[in-house]
């Protein structure tokens, strides 16, 4: 007979993930989470597994892998989720492709940590499901549940362990491997580009999803009402459940494996069975406050310490004296009605909408004009260039948070084993949080291309300075950091080209897509708003123009569909991007058309 493995919770999470069809795992080491990635790396025939530069980049890389079809596990300790909070909060809106579980290993008692924050709040904060295993077997089993919930409800799942779960050991009965549905990258701009209009809609969906998840928590076999032989009931999850179970073996239990959203009716059912109920939980009154909000009498943090770890004696000594008291008066639970979700405002009249657009003469448009000719997924983030996702350009496919595009590109390309995605990032955003994922992509030998759209300013917010310009709020200037030199220092080949030099931009893109290494292209041209002109517009040859509409697909506000031919408004700066796409040579620069060549 095969020996039943005796595993730590972390080893069990790793093996449970592989059993559940894991395709990609990454994380940043941090006690008590570290051994998950280590165990994955040890396993035979391991999926892709890597250490990332930090937890934020790890999650962004994980999002990319999920988008590319890999069931993905991202591991970190509790404080690591603070670092990854930026992608985590917005991932809760975009949802996933293949299942994605974030493991947060919390450290009550601060054995090896600078604080003991209770990360269950993060699940409530982001409105995503929370799974809490109570031993190694559950740690193993819950990963599959996490992936399934993630895919069914299109949400990341927070799998929360604590030191005693991660580092405790127990027997783990292996289960049959899960058959995983094949998934591949699907371009879905409205789902993954969180510009305000799209994010508002995803937010509505996430709120509605939370109510569906609550119904699932009511039915879930992870939430078990365990009958006892005494008149007391205990609500508990994770390690606290094991302490309470030993301290009060005859009590009734509501054992929560899926502890967010809270299954209200299961809580009420416990109250139907016993006359007094305790909540036993480590750290914050996360469950207790919600039970109290149902109008039910409950005892929790007034006797159970709010700080540090619990154990059997602490739980027994805290609750035992209360058993002699008279039970509280029976009350009926009042279930909070589901919240109102404000619908999208309906415009009173059917008028043409006016979304924000890239300005005439914007250098970002020049780069997008080249990118949209290539069969490549373009990952991005936050800045004026996010507008490249909107019609008619439709050239950007993700925007999760600052710097996320590079990690997501890495995740996709790691999964695909080639440069299937590129990333664009603004110069200010590059300094904000583009450097760490670039170093990570170099470290993890990811093929790809990062295009820094260097317009020499923080344009969208109104032209603030940044380390690449050396400009300060009072307009004084100091040392400036050279992006290309910085990239070379990391060991990433980098080149700078004029963003309007379409041949150079196209050549750089094609070269990067054909190769298997990581490159940076700095597409340089100052924001057109910093150059107020005067500008001379391009000239249209009405006889050659057949109104094919190719130039209109660039979304330039200065190019108008006329009756017979394209017309150019006085806003045209003569940047010439439309020349490059015109198949009939109907557009020319003013100098070429016989204007002044100065």
């Amino acid at each position: 007979m095969e020996r039943i493995p005796f595993l730590s919770g972390n080893e069990a999470i790793a093996r449970g993930a592989v059993r559940a069809g894991l395709g990609f795992a990454c994380g940043y080491p941090g006690t008590p989470s570290t051994e998950i990635v280590e165990e994955l790396a040890r396993l035979e025939g391991p999926p892709l597994v890597e250490w990332c530069i930090n937890e934020k980049v790890a999650l962004e890389t994980g999002i990319g892998a999920s988008l590319a079809g890999a069931r993905t596990l991202v591991t970190m300790k509790h404080v690591g989720l603070n670092v990854a909070a930026d992608p985590f909060m917005t991932l809760a809106l975009t949802g996933v492709n293949a299942g994605l579980a974030v493991v947060s290993a919390d450290d009550p008692g601060m054995h090896s940590s600078q604080n003991e924050q209770d990360n269950r709040h993060f699940a409530a904060f982001a409105r995503v499901p929370l799974l809490e295993p109570a031993d190694s077997q559950e740690a193993y089993d819950f990963v599959a549940w996490a992936f399934e919930l993630s895919e069914e409800f299109d949400t990341p799942v927070l799998l929360r362990s604590t030191t005693r779960i991660s580092h405790g050991r127990g027997r783990v009965v292996p289960r049959a491997p899960v058959v995983v549905e094949d998934r591949s990258y699907v371009r879905d701009i409205a789902k993954y580009v969180m510009v305000p209009d799209y994010a508002r809609e995803r937010n509505r969906l996430a709120l509605a999803r939370l109510e569906r998840l609550r119904r699932r928590a009511e039915e879930s076999p992870l939430n078990v009402l365990e009958a006892g032989t005494t008149d007391i009931g205990i609500i508990a999850s994770g390690a606290a459940y094991t302490y309470a179970r030993e301290a009060f073996p005859k009590a009734w239990f509501l054992k929560l494996g899926m502890s967010h959203p809270l299954p209200y009716r299961k809580v009420a059912k416990l109250y139907d069975s016993v006359s007094r109920v305790f909540v036993v939980e480590e750290l914050d009154p996360f469950l207790e406050d919600q039970v109290r909000a149902l109008g039910l009498p409950v005892v929790g943090k007034e006797v159970i310490p709010r700080n540090g770890e619990l154990n059997q004696e602490i739980v027994f000594d805290a609750l035992e004296p209360l058993l002699k008291r008279r039970p509280p008066r029976r009350k009926r639970a009042v279930f909070p009605p589901p919240p109102v979700i404000a619908p999208a405002p309906q415009a009173a009249d059917d008028l043409p909408v006016r979304p924000p657009v890239l300005c005439p003469g914007c250098p970002h448009r020049a780069v997008y004009a080249m990118l949209r000719r290539e069969k490549v997924a373009v990952m991005g983030d936050i800045g004026c260039y996010t507008l490249g996702a909107l019609p008619p350009l439709l050239s950007l496919e993700s925007c999760v948070c600052m710097g996320a595009g590079i990690g997501m590109m890495a995740g996709i390309n790691r999964r695909m084993g080639r440069a299937a995605a590129v990333a664009v990032i603004g110069d200010s955003t590059f300094f904000h949080s583009g450097i760490t994922p670039l170093i990570d992509a170099r470290y993890n030998q990811t093929p790809g291309l990062v295009i820094v759209l260097d317009n020499r300013t923080t344009a969208m917010t109104g032209h603030q300075g940044h380390p690449g310009t050396g400009l300060h709020p009072d307009r004084s200037s100091g040392p400036a950091v050279d992006i290309e030199a910085l990239c070379r220092g990391i060991g990433v080949p980098a080149a700078t080209v004029d963003a309007f030099d379409e041949e150079a931009v196209r050549a750089a893109i094609r070269e990067a897509l054909a190769g298997d290494e990581l490159r940076v292209l700095v597409a340089l041209a100052p924001c057109i708003l910093m150059d107020r002109g005067p500008h001379e517009g391009v000239v249209v040859d009405d006889d050659r123009c057949n109104l094919c509409g190719l130039c209109l697909e660039l979304g330039c506000p200065a190019v108008v569909a006329g009756d017979e031919a394209i017309e150019v408004t006085s806003d045209c700066t003569g940047c010439g991007v439309c020349l490059a796409v015109c198949a009939r040579g109907a557009i020319s620069l003013p100098s070429d058309a016989g204007g002044d060549e100065s």
Binding site: P196, P352, R354, V357
Partner: protein
Amino acid sequence: MNGTTTVSLAGVGGQGIILAAAIVAQAAMAAGFDVKASEVKGMAQRGGSVVSTVRYGRQVWSPVSPRADLVIATETLEGRRALALLADKGTLVYATTEIAPGSVLRGERAYPTDLADAARARLIQLIAVDAEALAIEAGSVRAANVALLGAATHALPFGSGAWDLALEQTVPPKILELNRRAFALGRDAAAPTEEGL
């Protein structure tokens, strides 16, 4: 609501809505009102629809309101869109400037022409101003926002002293004279005695 008057300024990002709103707010304060105001910045600035709001009265609590008594629109389609904000019998002062949004540029949609009908149905008073022409006459097309404000003075209870002070306090000194000219041209162009308003 509650004795507070709401002025919404609508236009296309980049047309100087924020400056115009600042001038209205200063003028209201100079006229002795309590004032609160709100503006939209960031992504919406890039050529998208923008609305700023100025509210004045004896005591104003919130800087925003879903309903406006007066809309000042620097572009016709945005004025048309802002009818949805206006209370019935409210006033729309709008520039005859037309800036086609993307869908119109590409020929997918037509620029709407039903402003007069839509306003009439709700007894909304329209005041049309060729603000760009007036601004060019004053010296620069970029003062069209201020020329339009001049025209809107007839719909607001602030004295000329309050407006003068507001311009001086809000407009950068380098372009103050130009904007004063534009403002005066707008005010004269929309004077209630003239015909065709």
